[in-house]
Every structure is written in structure tokens, then in C-alpha cells.
């Protein structure tokens, strides 16, 4: 049958087909003159929609994007204590390099903040202890002096954060073996990681955390949050500022407007070498997260403009605020604002589970009261958690999340 309805048509009529094209269409050109400053250069960077420019002009442009995102939103007060979280990925190295360069500028242009760098050792059991990238981290510490580097294992409490020089690798307890599904395992690990970052920031006296997410990764995050049922809090999952960390710590994403191509060119120009440990979570079975990542990667290759549309959709979504006069309640696990009203959809989900247990007996008069009671009871069982965290809880073999 035909499944095209009114929702399939945009205001401009038939503009409902995806535009094909890859994001990686920029190129690094050999010697030539820069279209911006006119000087001859050994390497020229040609981004989409921009003229070819020399390394200095490109760096000026891309660093300005980073500074502008912080400056326009006026979110970082002067002399703030900042914790930068790196994971060895290209984008985290770019943010580290940008922050370092912003500290070395003259007084007028300097970014006035004190930076500490945190690496979270979250290797999965398949990765051996000798593969923890201590050598690379020490090299970074030397290169980006005087930043202090800290390290912590994902299974530890925030108090056990250590300076990189004092750290010795220990076996990592798996915190995620107890889940029935790979989706819940990864969702739990993500929330746990965020909880740990907040705790470490408080421990080190930092009121701001910098996270190196760029636009394609935020597009993936947006779709993942939708699939996990985190619609009410997804604005904060992709926004410049996320205030759900403990102790009034604020998480900032200053690279959110950077594209993958800009990161690649930056890495090329500054000779950075990423050392992110291979993610082996996909070996434990498909998850909503891995499928969404594959879907966005495929879009990035074939319909790159759609990825940027998804990212920009995230920019239009507003964070939920508490209604005036009603005391706010937050999810005990992810710290998202909870709903005060019962959603019809959540009621329908519980209703489905309940009717399957009654079956033909539904036709008996008395069963409808029993049913209603059972549905409301189930919904109220964990009313201190959001719907997505309740899903994680349901996939836990034993015990509770908190």
C-alpha cells in the first residue's frame, strides 16, 4: 500500500528527498597562495564553501569558531576552573590544542581560565592493561605544559582521581556485566561516566567541564536519545550547556559547531595523533546506540547535509523547565527533570504488559478494575526515575541502579 501522507510533504512541496553527497569533499592542496592573506604556503586547506587558505588562516578561522561559541553564549566567567575530558579521539585532541593555544595568546585575546585535563580509563575487558595509553598521555602532558593531567578508572569513586604521574594501571572491574541487553549496558555506562565526571570536577574544584563533541557526534546523540525514550531531556544532551552534573558543575560543548572535516584538517595541520582505544562494545551484540552510530555514519558518507539538518534540529529543541509553583523532582540516576503528569504513551506501554497477563479474562466485568489498578501501580513503582532509566533498571539482572 502507499504510506505517503500529509507528513511526508514539506512546505516547499516535493523537497522530501534526501540530497546525496559526502561530507568529506574538502581537500588539502599542495603549495599555492592563500586566498585569505595572499601569502604562499606549503599546504592549503580547502573546506566546503570556503576558499583554499593557508594553515595560519585556517587555524584562525576554526579557533574563532571555538571562541565564538563560548563568547556568544557568555557561559564561561573569567578565571573559571575548567576540567577538560579527553578520550584520545581526534576531537578531544583538537580541543586540548585549542585551549592551550588560547592560553598562550596575548593578554587581550587570552582565554582566562585554568585548565585541568582528565582521562577516564574505561577500557573494556578485552583490552589488556599494557594497552592503556599512558605513554601517549605523558607525551601530551609534556607538549601541553603547564596543564595538569589526571586519570581515573570508570569503576572507581571520584575521590580516587590521581595525577597522571602517580597512576599505576589496575585491573578494571566490569560494571556493566549485569545487564540483559547491550543497549542498557551502554546507556548505563554513559550515565555512569557523566556521574563520575561531575564528581571528579567537584573533587578538583572545577565548576566547568569541557566535552569535545562535534556536530556529527551530537547528531548521533540526538537520534540515540530519541530511540532510548529520552526526548524530555535530549535538549541538554546536545546543547552547548548541560547543567545536570552534580554540585552545580556545568558541562560545556564548545566544539559543537565544528564539522568532521574541520577536525581532520586541524589534526593534519597540528600533527596530532589520536589514540582512542577501539570500542569493542559492538562485539557484545547490536544495540540502539551502535545501530544509530552506523546509520549516521552512513548518512555522513552519502547524505551529509541530512546529518547537519539533524544537528540543527537539536539546536531548536528547548530544555524542559519546571512549572512554576510545583516543586521540581529529578531522576535519581540521570538527574533529568521528571514529569509531573502521567503520559498516555507510558500508560499504554504498561497497559500492553498488563493485558497480556489477563488475556480472554478481560471480557469479565471485574477484570477492568484490577487492570487499571495494576497499570497505575506499575507506573508508580519507580516514580523517582525517568522512563529511559526505568528501562535500564528493568534490564538489570539483580539489584538496583542506585
Amino acid at each position: 500500500m502507499c504510506s505517503i501522507g500529509e507528513d511526508d510533504f514539506g512546505d516547499e512541496g516535493a523537497t522530501h528527498t534526501m540530497l546525496s553527497g559526502s561530507s568529506a569533499t574538502g581537500s588539502v592542496l599542495n603549495a599555492g597562495s592563500c586566498n585569505k592573506c595572499g601569502l604562499n604556503s606549503q599546504k592549503l586547506y580547502k573546506l566546503n564553501f570556503r576558499m583554499a587558505e593557508c594553515c595560519e588562516c585556517f587555524l584562525k578561522y576554526v579557533r574563532h569558531k571555538f571562541r565564538a561559541s563560548l563568547g556568544a553564549a557568555k557561559v564561561l566567567p573569567r578565571n573559571s576552573e575548567v576540567l577538560l575530558v579527553i578520550d584520545g579521539s581526534s576531537e578531544s585532541l583538537v580541543l586540548l590544542d585549542m585551549l592551550h593555544s588560547a592560553q598562550t595568546l596575548n593578554t587581550f585575546k587570552r582565554l582566562h581560565c585554568n585548565v585541568r585535563v582528565l582521562y577516564i580509563d574505561a577500557r573494556c575487558p578485552a583490552i589488556k592493561e599494557e594497552n592503556v595509553p599512558l605513554k601517549e598521555l605523558n607525551e601530551l602532558q609534556r607538549r601541553y605544559s603547564p596543564f595538569e593531567f589526571y586519570i581515573i578508572q570508570l569503576d572507581r569513586e571520584p575521590q580516587s582521581v590521581q595525577l597522571l604521574k602517580d597512576y599505576t594501571v589496575r585491573p578494571l572491574d566490569s560494571i556493566t556485566n549485569e545487564f540483559n541487553s547491550s543497549t542498557s549496558r551502554q546507556d548505563y555506562a554513559q550515565q555512569k561516566r557523566k556521574f563520575l565526571i561531575g564528581g571528579v570536577a567537584v573533587q578538583l574544584g572545577c565548576s566547568y567541564v569541557f566535552e569535545p563533541s562535534i556536530s556529527p557526534s551530537l547528531a548521533t546523540q540526538l537520534l540515540t536519545s530519541v530511540a532510548l525514550g529520552r526526548g524530555s531531556s535530549l535538549a541538554l544532551d546536545v546543547a552547548l550547556l548541560d547543567d545536570r552534573l552534580q554540585g552545580d558543575v556545568k558541562l560545556l560543548r564548545p566544539l559543537k559547531d565544528l564539522t568532521e572535516q574541520e577536525v581532520q584538517f586541524y589534526v593534519h595541520s597540528q600533527d596530532l595523533k589520536d589514540f582512542r582505544l577501539n570500542d569493542t562494545s559492538h562485539l557484545t551484540g547490536d544495540s540502539l546506540q551502535s545501530l544509530t552510530r552506523d546509520f549516521v555514519n552512513n548518512l555522513q558518507l552519502n547524505y551529509a547535509s541530512t546529518v547537519s539538518t539533524v544537528f540543527r534540529t537539536g539546536d531548536k529543541i528547548a530544555a524542559k523547565h519546571n512549572s512554576q509553583g510545583i516543586p521540581a523532582s529529578y531522576c535519581v540516576f540521570c538527574q533529568s527533570l521528571l514529569d509531573t503528569d502521567i503520559s498516555d504513551t507510558l500508560l499504554a506501554i504498561e497497559y500492553s504488559r498488563a493485558v497480556s497477563e489477563i488475556g480472554v479474562a478481560l471480557q469479565l466485568e471485574h477484570s477492568s478494575d484490577v487492570l487499571e489498578k495494576r497499570v497505575v501501580e506499575r507506573l508508580n513503582e519507580r516514580d523517582d526515575m525517568c522512563h529511559a532509566c526505568r528501562n535500564i533498571q528493568a534490564d538489570l539482572n539483580s539489584g538496583t541502579l542506585i
Binding site: M1, G5, G13, A14, G229, R353, G359, V360
Partner: protein, 343 residues
């Protein structure tokens, strides 16, 4: 090894519910499926006693199951509804003519009156003729836009209070993903609503199957031996929806509850005050619901009648330029004729 029905009715389970993963016997599955739709109708207050409701019937699985279940629940729970079937004949040879036969069979089986409205009588064009003029690249735009308005016209003609459509949970979750992929915040806001329209001059549309899974609808139709038409339209599929559908099917394999989770996410989204929210009004030409002036159906029809079928395809400004150019040419020709007459 045979498994007992989860509802402990004493029967052996004969199927696994796609939505919850529970093993049920056929009778318990039917009871659960129907009870859910009844619950949706009651909790969302979709109908009022004594209302006349048009069931948008295409002959496909969703509308066939919707007509069957609405008739059954109307009798079982005494809703007091006057149900009628409303079908649109787009004029697609080899597709709609066959599916209309299925709708006629439904009419006889369910003893419900049927009204068929054709594009030919409403617009003076069949889809076959439109495709002959525009080709296959944009034909779905014409079909979809005309169909929406044709349902409104039919509902007005029948004097109904609301139109019940067969949108199921998968369709709604797909639409949420599709609107995110194309950044359409206006439609993202309203696509999860169980009721749309219903203001003074519009007839409301309701989705009683909003929480029913496509797989369960197929299963219900299969075990109830309902007659439905399952051939795909002979014209082109829609690109955005195709991507969203394939993605959703992959997600559903990993976690079946993802469909409801996506609908829930869609409902929870709030937009910044700065985001444009087009107001839906009434087209000043035809008087039917629209957020543009004139409505898309009027622009597309004007394009067909002027011999400029691409008029409504693409930006409005482009269409206006096409009209201006044609008017200029017509004026020139008229002036040339005048000169000729002078001699």
C-alpha cells in the same frame, strides 16, 4: 516444547506478541489487542456518543483492521457511533481499482455504508493522467496532497464529526524520525498527536491505532482472516520515509519497545520560542485547512490546469516567476492577436 499461554487461560500459546514478547494463545491475543484499542479510545476521549465517524478506508491492512475493530468495539462497549467507510479513488490503474474492490468487500462484511470519492470528480484529473504529464519524479506530491484534501472534502460531504485514520505506532515513530531527519519542527510538533484539527471550521482526525504495532495488526488480520489488499503502489516510494523506516526496523529487531519509546520522545519534545510555528488556517480559494495561502492542493491544481505541472514543486518564489512568465507570454500573444484584428 509447547508453551502455556501467559494469560494462564489453560490453552497452549500459539504466537509471540511482537510488542511485549509474551507467548499467548490466539483468543488471548485478540482480547489483548482489542482491549488496548478500546483503552486508547476511552483514555484519549476520541469519540462522543452519537457521533458520525468516517473510517478512512484504503483497503490495506491498517484501515481494514481499524474498520473491523471499531465496529466490534462500538457494539461491544456501546459507543453509540454511526460508522461509515470513506475511500478515495486516485485513479491509478492496476492499484486503486483493485483495492477498492477490497473496500467494497469490507462494506458488505461489516454492513457499513461506503462513500468513494475520485480525484477525477474532485479535481478533474486522475493520477494516471497526472503521471503522464509530470513523470514519476514528483507524482507522490500530487497524490498525497490531493488525498489529504479529498478526505476533508468527503468528510464534509458525509457530514461526519471526525475521520478515523489507520496510522499505527510504527507509522508515527517513523514520522518522528523522518521529521528530525529533515528538520521539520512544525510537523514534529504535531505528528504524535492522537487528534489533529477539530477547530470550528475543520473536521478532526483521530488515530485509534496510535499504540498498535504494525506486526500485531498484520497478525490480527491474518488470524481473523480479514480480507485486505497488500500490493504496493505502482509509483515511486518516498525517500525520507524509506530511510526512517529501514532505520526503525533495524532498531525494532534489537529492542521492540523502541517504537513506543520514540513516540514518547516525540511527545516530550519542546521547541525554543524563536522557532517558527506556522498557524493552520483556511485556504481562501477552496476553504479547506491549510498553513499556506493558497493551499498546496490549489497551487498544484492550478499548475496542472495551466500546463505548468511543476508550479507547486519547489520554492513558492519559483512558482510565482513561472506564473509571471506565462502571463507575460499570454499578454504578448493577446496583443499580437489584437494587432492582427486591426487589419
Amino acid at each position: 516444547m509447547p508453551i502455556d499461554c501467559k494469560a494462564q487461560c489453560g490453552n497452549r500459546a500459539s504466537l509471540k506478541r511482537p510488542k511485549t514478547g509474551d507467548a499467548l494463545c490466539k483468543a488471548c491475543f485478540f482480547a489483548a489487542f482489542e482491549a488496548e484499542i478500546h483503552h486508547t479510545i476511552i483514555s484519549s476521549k476520541l469519540f462522543r456518543r452519537g457521533e458520525k465517524v468516517a473510517v478512512a478506508a484504503s483497503g490495506g491492512k491498517d484501515s481494514t483492521v481499524l474498520a473491523h475493530v471499531l465496529k466490534l468495539l462500538n457494539e461491544r462497549h456501546n459507543y453509540g457511533l454511526d460508522l461509515v467507510l470513506l475511500s478515495i479513488d486516485e485513479g491509478i490503474t492496476g492499484y486503486r481499482d483493485d483495492s477498492l474492490e477490497t473496500v467494497k468487500k469490507n462494506r458488505d462484511d461489516y454492513q457499513m455504508p461506503l462513500k468513494i470519492l475520485s480525484y477525477e470528480e474532485l479535481y478533474g484529473w486522475t493520477m494516471d493522467r497526472i503521471v503522464a504529464q509530470i513523470g514519476r519524479s514528483n507524482n507522490c506530491t500530487f497524490c498525497g496532497v490531493f488525498r489529504r484534501q479529498a478526505l476533508d472534502r468527503g468528510a464534509k460531504l458525509l457530514g461526519v464529526d471526525s475521520i478515523a485514520t489507520g496510522h499505527n505506532a510504527d507509522d508515527i515513530a517513523e514520522t518522528v524520525l523522518m521529521n528530525i531527519l529533515r528538520g521539520d519542527t512544525a510537523r514534529l510538533r504535531r505528528c504524535t498527536n492522537i487528534r489533529t484539527g477539530g477547530s470550528e471550521d475543520t473536521i478532526s482526525r483521530v488515530k485509534p491505532l496510535k499504540y498498535s504495532y504494525e506486526k500485531e495488526i498484520v497478525m490480527y488480520a491474518h488470524y481473523k482472516k480479514l480480507v485486505y489488499f497488500s500490493t504496493e503502489c505502482v509509483f515511486a516510494p518516498n525517500a525520507y520515509r524509506g530511510h526512517a523506516r529501514a532505520f526503525l526496523k533495524d532498531l525494532e529487531k534489537v529492542r521492540p519497545s523502541v517504537i513506543m519509546d520514540i513516540i514518547y520522545s516525540g511527545e516530550q519534545l519542546r521547541f525554543k520560542d524563536t522557532v517558527k510555528n506556522p498557524v493552520r488556517g483556511i485556504c481562501e480559494r477552496c476553504g479547506f485547512v491549510s498553513s499556506q495561502q493558497p493551499c498546496k492542493a490549489c497551487v498544484l491544481l492550478e499548475g496542472l490546469n495551466r500546463g505548468l505541472p511543476k508550479l507547486g514543486i519547489g520554492k513558492k518564489s519559483k512558482g510565482e516567476r513561472m506564473i509571471a512568465k506565462q502571463n507575460q507570454e499570454l499578454a504578448l500573444r493577446e496583443r499580437a492577436n489584437l494587432v492582427k484584428n486591426d487589419f
